[in-house]
């Protein structure tokens, strides 16, 4: 199994080539292939994580060539953690996508699966690689796949995708420019190598510009305010499975890259003291949190509301990075996990609602808890996690972020974090209120007492199981946060913080 780092990428990649071939013959076989490929990837990611925990970081040389000329895959705690998140959520979304795909894009399902696998390949590649340019390659693979997937969606999707395409390409170009500059001055593309060569070059203008380009490019990709403008359209109009994958995983990978660049490639000393980028990031993040939540309150469209909420949640994660202390980064990384689970569950749930009701308008969600009790229960659990009610996982990441803010003696973030809980409560409870309690006509309490209920008309199991699995995971990760932190996250925090 020593080839597992590369296998984790190759398997979805090769499968994505096979999907159109098989789909040409028999459409129904695509789905099992996709699920199988992602399942194997998930198991491999778990295996990798396990071996990182027991043996320490894994170094894998592509083709056996030595770095810095060869491409090296380097997996430590941070990578492994991200890889597990990416692969498992992709797996769950893939299970979900069969039914939702049937309804939303029936004649393009084969294309959908093919590009879906490419997207996952790109994401996993970004996560495991240790080479800067290799990361760009996978970044582009993932981004192009994402553009295509969004465009398959409904009415406004083409424009949203085009918007995202322009913005995303700008972001990727900035990243490439940054890599280029670094290569010019150091002659190396390997992250580990760079981290050793660069400290001597911190005074150089080129290096600093490269850093600025990285930050802006990645901020664009992850949707940090004010570079988030592509996000609402893209998330809203994409097919539900795609929105879920993008919101839960893609933005997190960009965050991961930012952490890598800020703290591994460039020293923490550089990022915190030499250039106070962390201060700027924390302020931007703070504004992002408030902005995202306020905008989310006024949206009538459920997915758009969730998209703006994602803008705010990315703010949380970046705030933790900006605080740049152990507690803050613990909160950040824990929130990466929690948000991936929570937003995944919420977007999948929104997709399920669209599947059954055909509408995303919040005002028309009445009586939903009778028609889809399990979906609504899962949605409620995820909403409670976003607000930060124990014992769901959202509470714990918020708790660590607050601790980080107190550690840094910056009370403004504490207030913003607590305020955002309340704002979250406003728009999530609006949905819950509508779905559970919307009055339908004249209500006299005795009609409910007499038990007049409609038939439950849940979504098919293929869609329901991922939603419930994520909801269960939300509660379990909450209860076991302590374990997760002590075994994984504690070691995933870059040294020197």
């Amino acid at each position: 199994m020593s080839h597992s780092p590369i296998l984790i990428i190759i398997i979805p990649l090769i499968s994505s080539f096979f999907v159109p071939l098989i789909g040409w013959r028999k459409k129904n076989l695509c789905y099992p292939l996709v699920v199988l490929a992602l399942f194997i990837s998930s198991i491999l990611s778990l295996y990798i994580m396990g071996s990182v925990i027991t043996h320490g970081s894994i170094y894998y040389r592509l083709g056996g060539w030595e770095p810095p000329w060869g491409i090296e895959y380097r997996i430590d705690y941070l990578n492994g953690f991200m890889a597990v998140i990416v692969s498992f959520i992709s797996f769950l979304v893939a299970i979900y996508s069969r039914r939702s795909g049937e309804q939303e894009l029936p004649d393009r399902i084969v294309h959908f699966y093919c590009i879906f696998l490419l997207l996952v390949t790109g994401l996993l590649g970004m996560v495991v690689t240790g080479d800067m340019f290799n990361l760009y390659v996978f970044l582009e693979i993932a981004s192009l796949a994402a553009y295509a997937l969004i465009a398959i969606g409904e009415d406004g999707a083409l424009m949203g995708s085009f918007n995202y395409l322009i913005m995303g390409t700008i972001g990727a170009c900035f990243y490439l420019l940054g890599v280029g500059y670094l290569y010019i001055v150091t002659g190396s593309l390997n992250m580990n190598d760079l981290s050793q060569i660069l400290p001597g070059l911190y005074h150089s203008r080129v290096v600093r510009t490269a850093f600025a380009l990285f930050i802006v490019g990645l901020a664009l990709k992850m949707g940090l305010f004010p570079l988030h403008t592509w996000l609402p359209d893209a998330y809203t109009h994409a097919p539900s499975a795609v929105s879920a994958l993008l919101a839960s995983v893609m933005s997190k990978v960009s965050v991961y890259i930012m952490i890598r660049i800020m703290f591994t490639v460039f020293n923490p000393y550089f990022s915190i003291e030499l250039i106070p980028i962390t201060t700027m990031l924390s302020w931007t993040a703070g504004i992002a949190i408030l902005f995202g939540e306020i905008m989310a309150i006024v949206q009538p469209d459920l997915k758009r509301m969730l998209a703006y909420s994602s803008v705010a949640q990315i703010g949380y994660i970046v705030l933790g990075i900006g605080l740049a202390n152990t507690m803050g980064l613990t909160g950040s990384l824990l929130h990466v996990l929690n948000h991936a689970l929570t937003k995944g569950c919420l977007f999948l749930g929104a997709g399920a609602i669209t599947y059954r009701r055909g509408t995303r308008d919040i005002r028309q969600l009445g009586y939903l808890h009778v028609e889809m009790p399990f979906t609504m229960a899962a949605f409620t659990i995820a909403a409670l996690s976003m607000i930060g009610i124990p014992p769901t996982c959202g509470f714990f990441s918020k708790y660590y972020l607050i601790l980080g803010a107190i550690d840094a003696r910056q009370w403004i973030w504490v207030i913003i974090l607590l305020l955002s809980s309340l704002l979250n409560a406003i728009f999530f409870f609006r949905v819950i209120e509508n779905a559970y309690f919307k009055p339908l006509g004249v209500i006299h309490e005795s009609s409910y007492d007499r038990g007049e209920q409609e038939e439950a008309n849940e979504v098919p199991l293929g869609m329901l199981i991922p939603i419930l699995a994520l909801a269960a995971a939300i509660i379990l990760t909450g209860i076991f946060s302590g374990k997760i932190i002590s075994t994984i996250i504690q070691f995933a925090i870059p040294e020197g913080i």
Partner: protein, 606 residues
């Protein structure tokens, strides 16, 4: 010997079992069995600290069992059982699940031995409580529930902030007496006070309790405020601020109750008043006062549940909940049993001898006297007068009696048997404890050296009651219900909240659209330009020409009349596009400009 379970766990597990029960009988059996099992569990628990779980480097203690927590535990489970009998006819599972979560989490709060456990159960209690309000499903309930959850989440945030600061400063998370100084203890106190409904933070209670379901409100009254009293007694005994807050609360509640028209809101103001006694007792400190507060909590849960059951029965059978609607329809003929049982509750709350209010209320008042706080004692005494006036006289008179009006009599009958049974059992307990106070005194935290049935106490009480009654008769007409509402401190956040939401919606959106509009027009112009670069200068010249000539008031002969008209139309075309959020076609301008600005900032920084 079976190791006892945390009682909170019993209720939460019970909540999860409810949807699994398929038949109605089985469901009802579960509903009654769970509190019974919990009661047995309580009997098995002995004092000490149990159920310790390591978490995040600290130790969570789920079971801090001593006399104080056991006393609250007992009454919570008892009222859970009685309330379940009352609510057993409700078919909607969700209501029962929410109720069990609510009861379970309150038990969790009562037995919490450390601050984290407290926080977790506190939040669950808030969220489950809001569902009980929402299940009423009318607009008032939905809105009130929304405000309820926001106020409670605010309180939860204060609690979280306070606990975190406390933990960071002190490093320990044990839940015990907290010194009242410094930011952390103030935050925690604020959070506790919100839940105890101390004015000015009490408005959620009077707003939300009257709007809940008939059966749900019975549960609501018992748990949130009393668990707040428990935590206050545990953490802040003897804090003088509480003494004054409590006394003010007691009088505040009755003053507002004079003006109330909705029968349950009137009772809700009395909750504020009675909890004032308890908060005052906690503030006075010392053994008798804490005993008094606890005893009063115990009795209050019983008689308040009874009162809400009675009021709920009236609402259930008549569909009306306002005094001005209920007056004069002669309910006393149609619902005599309800009236009687309600009056038992009313006598209890007023402190009539042989009912349970008498033995607990006077304990707190005497504690105030013993501590030489004359003003406090008089204030509490005044509140007693007000309580009898409204709960004991005004409310039953105008609900069940009243001058016969022209409206005639409406159809009403006694409520279903389960409701009557629940009310009957609760009344029985009220009278039992009232006549035989030793049962209660034995489970109080500190040894009781108080004898309520002394001649002067009894005579004093009788005098008070009779003369209050006289005052009532004098003013009987002035006290009838009017269809008004009373402004309370929630005005401060209801009015601004509306403004805030309006602000988010209209101006911000408009602002954004205007900016987008402007930039999109700019881009549109540029695209037009790039479509046909050779005519661009002409267009520019011509459009300036047009505007100039127009401005000079009068169109002279244009060199290219058709072209000008055509260009005018084109220009109009560019300028006339309206942009809606989902449909704008050229958002890139906004995005790209933001990117450039951000890049500039980054480079400047770097």
């Amino acid at each position: 010997m079976i190791k006892p379970l945390p009682p909170a766990a019993i209720f939460i597990l019970g909540a999860l079992l409810i949807p699994l029960a398929r038949t109605k009988r089985l469901k009802q059996l579960i509903l009654l069995l769970v509190p019974a099992v919990a009661f047995l569990d309580l009997l098995y628990m002995s004092h000490g600290i149990y159920w310790i779980y390591p978490f995040l480097g600290y130790e969570l203690v789920l079971g801090k069992v001593d006399k104080l927590s056991m006393c609250f535990g007992y009454i919570f489970v008892i009222v859970a059982f009685l309330g379940m009998i009352y609510a057993i006819h409700v078919k909607e599972d969700g209501q029962h699940i929410a109720t069990f979560f609510h009861i379970g989490s309150s038990l969790g709060v009562v037995f919490a031995g450390d601050l984290f456990t407290l926080l977790i159960f506190w939040e669950i209690m808030a969220v489950s409580g809001v569902f009980l309000i929402w299940y009423q499903r009318d607009k008032a309930a939905l809105d009130a529930g929304f405000r309820y959850i926001l106020v409670h989440l605010f309180g939860g945030s204060c609690l979280l902030a306070g606990i975190i600061i406390h933990v960071v400063n002190r490093g320990a998370i044990e839940f015990g007496p907290i010194e009242y100084e410094g930011l952390s203890s103030q935050l925690i106190l604020i959070a506790f006070i919100i839940n105890a409904a101390v004015p000015p933070l009490h408005a959620w209670l009077t707003d939300a309790y009257p709007e809940g379901t008939v059966t749900g409100s019975v549960f609501l009254t018992a748990f949130v405020t009393k668990s707040a009293v428990y935590v206050l007694a545990r953490a802040f005994p003897g804090v003088e601020l509480l003494m004054w807050l409590g006394a003010v609360m007691a009088v505040y509640g009755v003053v507002f109750a004079v003006l109330e028209n909705d029968i349950r809101r009137l009772l809700a103001y009395h909750i504020v008043s009675q909890v004032g006694y308890m908060v005052c007792g906690v503030g006075i400190g010392g053994e008798m006062a804490i005993d008094g507060a606890t005893a009063h909590a115990f009795c209050h849960i019983l008689y308040k549940a009874l009162l809400f059951m009675g009021a709920g029965a009236v609402i259930y059978t008549t569909g009306k909940k306002k005094l001005n609607q209920l007056e004069g329809i002669g309910l006393y003929k149609k619902m005599p049993i309800t009236l009687t049982l309600y009056m038992i509750g009313a006598f209890s709350i007023s402190g009539v001898p042989f009912f349970n209010g008498f033995i607990s209320k006077s304990m707190v008042v005497s504690a105030a006297a013993l501590k030489h706080e004359p003003v406090i004692e008089l204030m509490l005494y005044l509140a007693s007068i007000g309580t009898f006036l409204h709960t004991g006289l005004k409310l039953p008179y105008y609900t069940f009696f009243g001058r016969p009006s022209e409206k005639g009599e409406i159809e009403a009958k006694e409520p279903p048997f389960n409701m009557l049974l629940a009310m009957g059992l609760t009344s029985f307990l009220c009278i039992l404890i009232g006549c035989y106070p030793k049962i209660l005194y034995d489970i109080l935290p500190y040894p009781v050296d108080y004898h309520p049935y002394t001649p002067d106490h009894v005579i004093g009480a009788i005098q008070l009651l009779l003369l209050t009654g006289a005052a009532f008769w004098l003013y009987i007409d002035k006290l009838r219900g009017e269809p008004t509402i009373t402004l309370d401190t929630d005005w401060f956040y209801r009015k601004p909240a509306k403004a805030f939401l309006w602000l988010c919606d209209i101006p911000l959106n408009n602002f954004r659209l205007t900016v987008q509009d402007f930039l999109s027009k700019a881009v549109g112009f540029l695209t037009e330009l790039s479509k046909n670069p050779y005519t661009a200068p002409t267009v520019l010249v011509l459009s300036t020409q047009i505007s100039i000539t127009k401005a000079l008031n009068g169109l002279r002969g244009q060199p290219y009349p058709d072209k000008v008209v055509e260009l005018k139309k084109k220009l109009k075309g560019i300028n006339g596009i309206i942009y809606i959020e989902n449909r704008y076609k050229n958002p890139l301008a906004l995005n790209i400009s933001l990117v450039l600005i951000f890049l500039l900032l980054c480079t400047l920084f770097v």
